[in-house]
Amino acid sequence: MPLLQIQDLTKKIGKKILVDHLTLEMDKGEILGLLGPNGAGKTTTIRMLVGLISKSEGQVLINGLDTSQHFEQAMAQVGVIVEQPDLYKYLSGYDNLILFSRMSKGVTRQRIDEIVQWVGLAHSIRDKVSSYSLGMRQRLGLAVALMHKPLLLLLDEPTNGLDPAGIRELREHLKLLARQQDVGIVISSHLMSEMEMMCDRVAILQKGKLVGVQRVSDMVQDEHAQVRFEVDRPDLAVQLLQSLLSGEQIDVEQEQLRVRIPKNRIPEISQKLLDAGISVYGVTTIKRTLEDKYIEITGGEPH
């Protein structure tokens, strides 16, 4: 049974359709990225998943439990951060944790201490949250979301406000959770390079519609690659390449040529260039990134 099943999830406000018949499934231990330009409906989707806003249509099952009918049982297995991790500023970090621990079964003091260590807040947990930096609040929010050992973690832009080291740390943490404890994680973000490093799959949303689901490993293992040849006589090289790769587009930028070719033809083509008396200073494969795919799917607008 999939951990999270979303069927025909739709949100309409007035005539506006914010999320349009979204259907998606994910398994335990998987990290799924929700990617989309501003206003695509990522936050709206997460809010609907956790019942903060009502669904106009559709169904959400968490570990087989319908969230509309078994809200309390379903939510007991979910940890969530929506947009900012807003906590009680006039309380200490520790009091915040105590507060939320009372709302879930089986969270002991020991578990609280453990999670405080884990998110790296041990030194400031007794301070008031009002004195925390954004990154520290993000960590505290993560502690609240994780303290009751949820099976499903929903994070709306969790890297917001974290420093590069913090982002890296978060990435490692989340991967560990997914690999070792089989937690399913949904992350929404704008940072495509982040998503690429963290996620197993990426779902791309645009104007409320799911326009594509991409397995990240597929992109890396793509057989074709963009290859850049750095040569001393580009004119000659272009002619040669044109004859070798009929039809392929060749971009020339000063002494660099860019073509899209199957990876296994790189040695052969390099050899041909050398044989024609062209000096080759460098051959680089340009990895096809999630960004390319994203722009291809969403039709060019990078946002």
């Binding site: 956790v50 903060l52 806003i53 929506v82 906590l87 500023k89 309380l91 009372r102 709302m103």
Partner: protein, 311 residues
């Protein structure tokens, strides 16, 4: 559920602001008692009989004045009877400072309610303002449970303030009027006759029977807080309504239409003394009338709180 209420209490009492509000209540009670002490002391003179007789003749004049309000006439008549009782039984009135303390309970509960309104007006709306509502509603507790826990915590806070008021008036009263006064009886007027009950009982009863005012105003603030999610709106509207209701209920005391005015049923002390302000209105009627208002307010705020989207 218990834990949820504990959580709400933690959020209330861990704030400095709450303790400032509690200090204001303590100060108010103290000022009331000091005020009674200073205004009541001249009657300690030897010729208190002459003073009371003079006061009685003023009061008689006042009641026959053509522009006298209902409430003024009623109060004057009561005072006449009480003064006469003092004269007849040879009790000097300065010992009746405690009597006044009982009579002031309405004001104390009024002040307490205004303070409790601030907490109740915030208890839901502030969660929306700070964004914490998102975490609160995405744990495994239904919105209904959160709603109930918050309402119970608001009422409990009002009750705690009332208890504090009661204890402080006994404490300050004993310190200022002397502990001996507690043995006296409270004098009241019912059916044109003066009766006596033990003072502590009167004080306690008076607090208890004034509580509907607190419950009503706290519920009003809570309703606006939960339904409209605005702290300022809920506190301002509820404060205005409470002050207006309090004043109108006093000014219009005894008028027939007040049987349909909820604030006229929030001071139930007349039923202790058996002296209802409007004929044919029973304690049960007053209670049911107040309860209907509470139910309607909850219907509005509960529906809004449970149904509306949290964005």
């Amino acid at each position: 559920m218990n834990l949820l209420i504990q959580n709400e209490n933690l959020k209330i009492y861990k704030r400095k602001r709450t303790w400032i509000l509690i200090a204001i209540v303590a100060l108010f009670v103290l000022l009331q008692i000091i005020n009674l002490h200073t205004s009541g002391s001249p009657a300690a003179s030897e010729d208190w009989r002459a003073q009371l007789e003079q006061e009685n003749s003023w009061l008689t004049e006042e009641t026959s004045a053509p522009d006298a309000l209902n409430i003024e006439i009623r109060q004057a008549e009561k005072q006449l009877l009480l003064n006469q009782y003092h004269l007849d039984h040879g009790i000097p009135p300065q010992q009746s400072a405690w009597n006044f303390a009982v009579d002031q309970v309405g004001n104390v509960v009024f002040a307490i309610s205004l303070i409790a309104i601030i907490i109740a007006g915030e208890i839901v709306a502030a969660e929306f303002a700070s964004g914490t509502i998102k975490l609160l509603l995405t744990r495994s507790a239904s919105r209904t449970k959160i709603y109930c826990a918050k309402y119970i915590a608001s009422i409990l806070f009002g009750l705690a303030l009332a208890l504090l008021g009661l204890l402080l008036s006994i404490l300050f009263g004993s310190l200022i009027f002397g502990f001996g006064g507690l043995d006296h009886s409270y004098l009241y007027v019912s059916d044109s006759a003066v009766g006596e009950i033990p003072l502590l009982q009167a004080l306690l009863g008076s607090y208890l029977f004034h509580l509907p005012f607190m419950v009503l105003t706290v519920t009003l603030a809570f309703m606006i807080s939960a339904a409209f999610r605005s702290t300022t709106f809920s506190i301002v509207i509820s404060l205005l309504a409470s002050v207006a209701g309090f004043v109108i209920a006093i000014a219009m005391n005894g008028w027939d239409w007040t049987r349909y005015f909820v604030f006229s049923h929030t001071d139930l002390t007349p039923y202790i003394w058996g002296d209802p302000p409007v004929g044919e209105v029973s304690l049960a009627y007053a209670l049911v009338f107040v309860l209907i208002h509470l139910a309607v307010m909850h219907l509005v705020s509960y529906t809004a709180f449970v149904k509306r989207d949290v964005t």
